[in-house]
C-alpha cells in the first residue's frame, strides 16, 4: 500500500518564506539580465503566490508551461496563456478548468504575443492594477512584480467548487478524482503548496497532451479552412479506432476554432462516450465556451438530441443511421461543424462509417490511426466512392447510375457538384502518445467514464447555494401520470405486464414525440416501436406509484422543457451502481442492492465478450479425446 499522502498544510502556504525577500532581490537582478537579452531566462521555479484565501497568482515566463492535475478557476490578469489550444486573455471571464487524474493532464502555457508598444512601466502598472482589481494581497503583488517581464503572463487561479464537482466527489470511488495519482516529486516547494491550496498539483509534462506533427498539420489546415470565408462552411468528420485520441483532438480543435470564431457546432455520433451528453445519445451542440475538461465536467443541453439507448450501435445500425440523419438535419450550415464518430472501425463498423461519410458528406475527414493502418484502410474519397457500405452501395454498380442524381443533392453539403464523387479532403493523423490505439489500454474503463458522465449530469440536480451534497433520494421528484407519457423499452422486449419492473429505479430518456399520447385507460401507454424523436434530457424513475398511476421522476431538465416531455425511453444505460449502493440513511433493505449475490458461482456473471481463443490445431474431434 502506498503511503498516505499528506495534503500540504495550508499553514505552509500562508506563511511566505522569510527568505523570500532576499531571493526576490536576487531574482530581480537575474531577470534584469534576461530582459536586457544578455542571458536566456533560466528555468526559474514557478512563481506562484497565494493571492488570498484559496486563490493564487501565477506568473509564467514566456513559453513556460505548467502541466497539472486538479481543478480550479482560471483568469488571465496580464498577457495571455494557452490551455488545450484555447488562448485565454485578460478579457475572458474566469474559466473553470478540470484536469482529473483519469485523463490527459492539461498544460497551461504562456503565450508569447505581440505586446502593445507601451513602455515597460505602463505594462507593469497595468499588471499591478489587474491584480489589485482582483484583490491580490499587496505582499503577493510585490512578489509577482519582482519577476515581471513584458512578455510574461500572469494568471489568477481560484479554488473551484461547483455543485457538480461536489456531487461527483461525494461518491467514494471518485472522491480522489482531482488529486494527483502519486506524488511525483518528494521535494515540496512553497510554490507547490500554493498551487495545492488552489486545488491543483504540478505534474510532469509527459502526462500532458502530446501533439504529433501530423496532428499539428491537420489542425493547421482545418483552422485555415474554417476561417477562410470563400470556401463554404467546413464539415469535419473525425474517425479512427478506439483510444487514438479522437475526443482530445476534437476538444483541441474546438478550442483552437473558438479563438477565432464565436461558435462551432459539434455533432456527437459516438454513443459510447459522448462529449456533452450522457451516454447513448446522438446530439448536435452549439459550442461557445472552450472545452477545458473531460465530458463529465461540461454536460450541457444540446440543440438537438436523440436517445439511441445503447452504448454501441451494432444491434440496430439502421436506427443508428436514422437517428444520425435526424440530428444532422438540424445543422444549418452557418458555422463549422465537427462530427465525432464511433471507434468501431472493424468489419461492419467500417462499412457503417462509409455509410456515414456518404450520408453526411463532410468537407474534411480526419482519419486517426496508428501508423501501420492495421485497423482501417485509408478512407480516400475514391475508396468511399467505390466501396459498398453497410446500408449503401458503392458507385460502381451500374444500376445506381439510373437513379435521380439531382434528388441526391439534399445530402450534399457543398452544392453543385457531381453527386457521384465524394468531395472531401482526407487528413491523416498519427497520434504519437504512448499506448495510442491499443485497445484495452485506456487509462480508465469505458464503463467508468460513462458512469462519470451520468454523475456529472445528475450533479445538475444539486442546489447551487448549499455547501453540502444532497443525496439523490432525498430530493423532491416530479410526478407525471402514466397516461400522459408513452413508454418504450428500447433494447429488449419486456412483457408489458412486467414493464414497471424494468422502469422502476431506472435511467430514462425524457423525450417528445409529435403524436398526441392517446390512452383509453388510466394505465400506461406502451409504444409498439422505438420512435426517432427529440430527447430533452434524462431522469431517474425514483418510484412508480401503482395506485395513483404516477411515475415519480428525478431530473435536472428545466420545467419549461419538462412540460413538453410525453415519452419515456428506457435503454441499456443504467444508473451508476454507486448511486444505488451509496444511498445513506436508509432503514432496511435498499431495493436492487444486495450483498448476498455471489459472483463466484458458475453462471453468476455476464456473457463475456468473445476473446479470441487461440485454437490449437485440433478441431472439434478433440472434444472426444
Amino acid at each position: 500500500m502506498p503511503a498516505r499522502r499528506s495534503r500540504p498544510r495550508r499553514a505552509l502556504a500562508r506563511n511566505p518564506a522569510r527568505g523570500a525577500r532576499a531571493e526576490t532581490a536576487w531574482r530581480e537582478f537575474a531577470a534584469s539580465f534576461a530582459r536586457a537579452g544578455m542571458v536566456p531566462p533560466a528555468e526559474p521555479g514557478l512563481a506562484a503566490v497565494e493571492a488570498a484565501e484559496g486563490t493564487a497568482v501565477l506568473l509564467l515566463a514566456p513559453r513556460q508551461a505548467l502541466t497539472f492535475t486538479g481543478k480550479c478557476r482560471l483568469r488571465c490578469l496580464y498577457g495571455a496563456v494557452r490551455l488545450l489550444g484555447f488562448a485565454v486573455a485578460s478579457h475572458h471571464p474566469g474559466l473553470p478548468v478540470f484536469s482529473p487524474a483519469t485523463h490527459c493532464a492539461l498544460s497551461l502555457e504562456a503565450l508569447p504575443g505581440a505586446r502593445p508598444p507601451a513602455a515597460l512601466r505602463q505594462l507593469r502598472a497595468a499588471a499591478r492594477a489587474a491584480m489589485r482589481a482582483h484583490r491580490v494581497r499587496r505582499q503577493a503583488r510585490v512578489k509577482v512584480m519582482a519577476r515581471f517581464s513584458s512578455d510574461c503572463a500572469v494568471v489568477l487561479l481560484e479554488h473551484l467548487d461547483t455543485p457538480v464537482t461536489r456531487f461527483l466527489l461525494s461518491h467514494p470511488p471518485l472522491s480522489r478524482l482531482f488529486e494527483p495519482q502519486k506524488k511525483e516529486e518528494s521535494s515540496f516547494t512553497p510554490e507547490d503548496a500554493v498551487l495545492a491550496s488552489v486545488g491543483i498539483v504540478k505534474c510532469s509534462p509527459d502526462r500532458g497532451l502530446l501533439v504529433s506533427e501530423s496532428t499539428y498539420l491537420a489542425l493547421e489546415e482545418l483552422i485555415q479552412a474554417c476561417c477562410a470565408e470563400d470556401e463554404g462552411i467546413p464539415v469535419v468528420l473525425v474517425c479512427g479506432p478506439k483510444n487514438t485520441g479522437k475526443s482530445t483532438f476534437n476538444r483541441y480543435l474546438i478550442n483552437l476554432l473558438l479563438n477565432r470564431l464565436p461558435a462551432v457546432e459539434y455533432m456527437e455520433c459516438d454513443i459510447g462516450q459522448p462529449e456533452f451528453t450522457p451516454p447513448g445519445c446522438v446530439s448536435l451542440s452549439s459550442v461557445t465556451e472552450p472545452v477545458l475538461g473531460p465530458p463529465f465536467t461540461h454536460q450541457q443541453t444540446p440543440r438537438k438530441m436523440v436517445y439511441y439507448g445503447q452504448t454501441s450501435c451494432e444491434q440496430d445500425t439502421e436506427r443508428y443511421l436514422d437517428v444520425m440523419k435526424y440530428v444532422f438535419s438540424c445543422y444549418k450550415k452557418e458555422v463549422p461543424l465537427i462530427i465525432n464518430t464511433m471507434g468501431w472501425v472493424k468489419g461492419e463498423g467500417l462499412l457503417l462509417l462509409i455509410d456515414i461519410i456518404r450520408l453526411l458528406s463532410p468537407s474534411h475527414v480526419v482519419q486517426m490511426d496508428v501508423c501501420d493502418w492495421k485497423a482501417m484502410a485509408p478512407l480516400t474519397p475514391e475508396h468511399v466512392h467505390l466501396q459498398a457500405g453497410l446500408h449503401t452501395k458503392g458507385k460502381q454498380q451500374p444500376k445506381c447510375k439510373q437513379l435521380d442524381v439531382g434528388a441526391a443533392e439534399s445530402w450534399k453539403c457543398s452544392e453543385g457538384e457531381d453527386a457521384s464523387v465524394p468531395q472531401y479532403k482526407l487528413l491523416y493523423v498519427h497520434p504519437e502518445f504512448p499506448r495510442a490505439g491499443v485497445a484495452g489500454e485506456a487509462r480508465v474503463h469505458s464503463g467508468i467514464l460513462r458512469d462519470m458522465s451520468i454523475l456529472g449530469y445528475l450533479g445538475h440536480l444539486q442546489y447551487p447555494d448549499i455547501g453540502a451534497v444532497l443525496p439523490l433520494h432525498s430530493l423532491v421528484p416530479y410526478q407525471v401520470p402514466f397516461s400522459a407519457v408513452a413508454l418504450r423499452v428500447i433494447h429488449t422486449d419486456v412483457a408489458p405486464t412486467n414493464i414497471m419492473y424494468a422502469v422502476n429505479a431506472s435511467w430514462v430518456g425524457l423525450c417528445c414525440i409529435p403524436d398526441e399520447v392517446r390512452c383509453q385507460t388510466d394505465g400506461p401507454v406502451l409504444l409498439t416501436q422505438t420512435p426517432v424523436c427529440d430527447c430533452l434530457g434524462f431522469g431517474i424513475v425514483r418510484g412508480v406509484d401503482m395506485e395513483k398511476k404516477l411515475y415519480h421522476i428525478l431530473t435536472p431538465v428545466p420545467p419549461e422543457n419538462l412540460r413538453l416531455v410525453n415519452c419515456l425511453l428506457l435503454g441499456n444505460i443504467a444508473i451508476p451502481n454507486c448511486v444505488l449502493v451509496g444511498q445513506q440513511g436508509i432503514e432496511g433493505e435498499i431495493p436492487y442492492v444486495t450483498s448476498d449475490y455471489n459472483y463466484s458461482i458458475l453462471g453468476a456473471g455476464k456473457l463475456r465478450k468473445k476473446k479470441h481463443f487461440k485454437r490449437k490445431d485440433f478441431t472439434f474431434e478433440c472434444d472426444y479425446t
Binding site: 451534497v469 432525498s474 421528484p477 425514483r542 451502481n577 442492492v593 455476464k606 472434444d623
Partner: protein, 624 residues
C-alpha cells in the same frame, strides 16, 4: 490489463481507504435486477414449479430483469429462462416435435457453450473436460455435439437433456445463490473482478488482484479468529455447566485454566498479525454482541428499554467476557477496539437493537474502566457480594482526539454521555470552553434522543432543525442572529482545527465526512423558492412537483412511501398499446429516403420494405 496510469490512480484511491480490513470484511454490495429477496425467490420458485402458467409469469419477470441488466444479465438466469421457455412451449402443445427439437436444441447448445466458455482460459480446453470439471453430465455435452454437428436427436432426449440441465442450474446456481454463504471466494477469481471493475459503484471496483488476494486472506484470518472465539465461548459455557448456574460461575470464569490460557495465547498470537481483524471479529454477532439465544443461556433478560441499562453491560455477560478482554486490552488494542465500536455504532441504525445497546454499554464500560485505572484507583468494587474484576490492569494512555472524533462521527442518543466520559478522561484536556461547547453541540445534534437514522423526524417544530456545521453556518449567515449559536460554531471550528494540529493524518477523513454529510431534506427556504418557481412553470402541464409531505430521504430510489416488498407490487393489470404509424419524423425523412440515390432500399436488390412498412409490420406483432 488496464493502463499503468489507470491502475495507479486506482491504487492511489485504495491508499486512502480506512485501514485495510475494516471494510473488506463487509461483503461486496452489488446491484441486481430484483428489488429484493422476495422477488428473487418468487422467480426461482416460479421457474421451477412445473406449472406452465406460473412459469410464464416468472419468464415475464425475467424479461424485465433482462432490461435492467442489459448485457450484464447473469448467464445462468438467461440459460434457465431459455430452457424453461422451451418447456412452456412444449406443454402448450402449439409446436410440433421437429420445431420443439430445434428450440430445445438451441437452448441446450447455448447452455453448454456459454457456461463452459466462462471457464475457458487462454488456449481452448476440450468441452468434455470443462464439463467434467463443473459436473455437467458428459452425455449432455455429447448431445450438444450431436445437435451442432450430427443428426438431430429425438425429442425425448432433448426433453431429458433440458430437465437434467435445469436441475444442474438449480443445484449449482439458483439454490446456492443468495444463500447465506456470504461472498465466498472461489475458483473463478477474475470473474468477480471483471464484474466489479466495469462498475463504478461496486465498493470494490478498484480492487485489483493483489488486493483481492488480500481480501481472501483476510477472510480466512477472520474465520480463524472466530473459531478461537467460539472455543472461548464453549469453554466458558462448559465451566458454567459444571456450576449449574450462571451467577455462580462468575467467579470460576475468571480463574485461569490451562484451556483458557491456551485460547488466550492463540488469540494474542493472531492479534500480532492483525489487531483490526480481531477487533472486527469480537464485534461480529455472537461474541461481545450476543445473540438472543446466548443471552437466554446465560439467563439474562434483555430489556429493549435503554433507560434500564444505565450504560452497563449485564453483569453475568460482563463476567463471561472479562477474562478474555483483560487479556487482550493492551494500549493499542483498546484504541482499536473502541474506535471500531464507534464505527459499528455509526452503522447500526436502530437504537432498539441489541447491537446498539451493547455497543454503547461496552464503550461506556471500557471508558469507565480506563477512567478508574488511569486515576490510579485500583480497587474491586463489590456488587451483590460478587466481585467484579476490572478490565484494565495498567494505565492506558490513548489517542483521545481520535476517540473524540470517532465518537462524534457516530452520533446517537448516548453520544453526550460517551463524549463526556471521553472528555473527562482525556489528557491533555481540552479547554473548559471547548469541552462545554462540544458537549453542548453534541446534545443539540442528538436532540430528543432520536435515533441516528432519522434525525429529521424528531423535530416537528416549525423551526428548521440544526444538524450539521454547514447548516449552522448557513443559518448564521442567513439570519445573522442568535449569537451564542454562532459562537458555538466558531468554537467547534477551533476544536477541529486543533485536532488537525494533533492528528494530521485525520484531516482527510474529516473532510470526507463534511463533504458527504448531507443537509437533511429540502427544507431550505432557498430551495423552497426554487421549488415554488418550478411549480409555477409547470402550471397546466401533466408534470407536477410531487406535493405530498414526504420525507424522501427515508426512501431509497425505487421505493415509495407505503410501498411494500410484495414481489407482485409493480404488476400491471391494464395498459394500452400505441403505435406511431404516422410519425412525422419518418415522413420528413421519407422524402429523403425515396430520393436518396445511395440508399439500398431503392436498388433492385435492396430491401423489400421501406422503414415505414417495416415499422407497420413490426407494430402489428405482439410478442407477449
Amino acid at each position: 490489463m488496464s493502463g499503468r496510469a489507470g491502475s495507479g490512480w486506482r491504487r492511489g484511491r485504495l491508499g486512502s481507504a480506512p485501514a485495510p480490513g475494516r471494510r473488506r470484511l463487509k461483503p461486496l454490495r452489488t446491484v441486481v435486477a430484483w428489488r429484493g429477496r422476495a422477488e428473487w425467490d418468487q422467480v426461482m420458485v416460479g421457474l421451477y414449479c412445473g406449472d406452465s402458467r406460473l412459469q410464464q409469469d416468472a419468464l415475464d419477470r425475467v424479461s424485465a430483469w433482462k432490461s435492467r441488466y442489459g448485457q450484464k444479465m447473469p448467464l445462468a438466469v438467461d440459460c434457465t429462462a431459455e430452457l424453461i421457455r422451451c418447456k412452456v412451449l412444449d406443454s402448450s402443445g402449439r409446436l410440433k416435435s421437429h420445431e420443439l427439437i430445434l428450440s430445445y436444441g438451441l437452448a441446450l447448445v447455448r447452455f453448454v457453450n456459454l457456461i463452459t466458455e466462462r471457464k475457458q482460459k487462454m488456449a481452448s480446453i476440450p468441452l468434455r473436460q470443462l464439463a467434467r470439471e463443473v459436473d455437467i453430465p458428459i452425455w449432455v455435452v455429447d448431445l450438444r455435439h450431436e445437435l451442432t454437428h450430427g443428426k438431430l436427436p429425438r425429442l425425448a432426449l432433448c426433453r431429458k437433456g433440458c430437465d437434467v440441465v435445469l436441475d444442474w442450474l438449480r443445484k449449482t446456481y439458483w439454490s446456492r445463490q443468495l444463500g447465506n454463504n456470504l461472498c465466498e471466494e472461489s475458483e473463478d477469481e477474475d470473474e468477480e473482478e471483471e464484474e466489479a471493475n466495469t462498475e463504478l459503484g461496486n465498493d470494490a471496483w478498484e480492487i485489483q488482484t493483489p488486493q483481492h488476494e488480500a481480501c481472501q486472506k483476510h477472510k480466512e484470518f477472520h474465520e480463524k479468529v472466530r473459531d478461537i472465539l467460539i472455543s472461548y465461548k464453549n469453554e466458558q459455557f462448559r465451566v458454567m455447566q459444571t456450576m449449574q448456574s450462571a451467577s455462580k460461575s462468575r467467579e470460576l470464569w475468571s480463574d485461569s485454566s490451562s484451556e483458557m490460557d491456551w485460547i488466550l495465547a492463540q488469540i494474542k498470537d493472531l492479534m500480532q498479525e492483525n489487531r483490526e481483524s480481531v477487533a472486527a471479529a469480537l464485534l461480529s454477532d455472537g461474541f461481545l454482541i450476543p445473540k438472543m439465544d446466548c443471552l437466554k443461556l446465560l439467563n439474562i433478560k434483555y430489556e429493549a428499554n435503554k433507560e434500564v441499562w444505565q450504560f452497563k453491560i449485564p453483569q453475568t455477560f460482563y463476567c463471561f467476557w472479562q477474562p478474555l478482554l483483560t487479556g487482550l486490552l493492551s494500549r493499542s488494542f483498546t484504541q482499536i477496539l473502541i474506535e471500531k465500536m464507534f464505527m459499528e455504532l455509526k452503522e447500526c441504525s436502530d437504537s432498539s437493537e441489541l447491537r446498539h445497546q451493547f455497543l454503547i454499554s461496552w464503550i461506556s464500560e471500557l471508558l469507565t474502566g480506563i477512567a478508574k485505572v488511569n486515576a490510579g484507583k485500583k480497587r474491586q468494587h463489590c456488587n451483590k457480594q460478587v466481585s467484579v474484576k476490572e478490565l484494565f490492569l495498567h494505565k492506558v494512555p490513548l489517542q483521545w482526539i481520535r476517540l473524540t472524533d470517532s465518537c462524534l462521527e457516530a452520533p446517537c442518543w448516548a453520544t453526550p454521555h460517551l463524549l463526556q466520559l471521553i472528555l473527562t478522561i482525556m489528557r491533555p484536556r481540552l479547554s473548559r470552553t471547548s469541552r462545554k461547547n462540544l458537549l453542548y453541540l453534541a446534545s443539540i445534534y442528538t436532540e430528543g434522543g432520536a435515533p441516528l437514522s432519522s434525525p429529521g423526524l424528531s423535530s416537528d417544530s416549525s423551526e428548521h432543525p440544526i444538524y450539521t456545521i454547514e447548516s449552522l453556518q448557513w443559518r448564521v449567515r442567513q439570519e445573522n442572529q442568535v449569537k451564542n449559536q454562532g459562537q458555538t460554531v466558531e468554537k467547534e471550528d477551533d476544536v477541529l482545527e486543533r485536532d488537525d494540529g494533533v492528528e494530521e493524518a485525520e484531516e482527510e477523513e474529516e473532510e470526507m465526512v463534511t463533504e458527504t454529510n448531507p443537509v437533511e431534506g429540502l427544507a431550505h427556504p432557498g430551495n423552497m423558492a426554487a421549488v415554488a418557481e418550478r411549480r409555477a412553470a409547470l402550471q397546466g402541464s401533466a408534470w407536477q412537483i410531487t406535493a405530498d409531505e414526504v420525507q424522501w430521504k427515508d426512501f431509497p430510489l425505487g421505493k415509495l412511501p407505503g410501498q411494500t416488498d410484495d414481489p407482485d407490487g409493480l404488476m400491471l393489470d391494464n395498459y394500452s398499446m400505441m403505435s406511431l404509424l404516422d410519425q412525422p419524423v419518418r415522413d420528413e425523412w421519407k422524402t429523403l429516403h425515396t430520393n436518396s440515390a445511395e440508399l439500398k432500399i431503392h436498388g433492385t436488390g435492396g430491401l423489400l420494405w421501406t422503414q415505414n412498412d417495416f415499422h407497420k409490420i413490426k407494430s402489428g406483432l405482439q410478442l407477449f
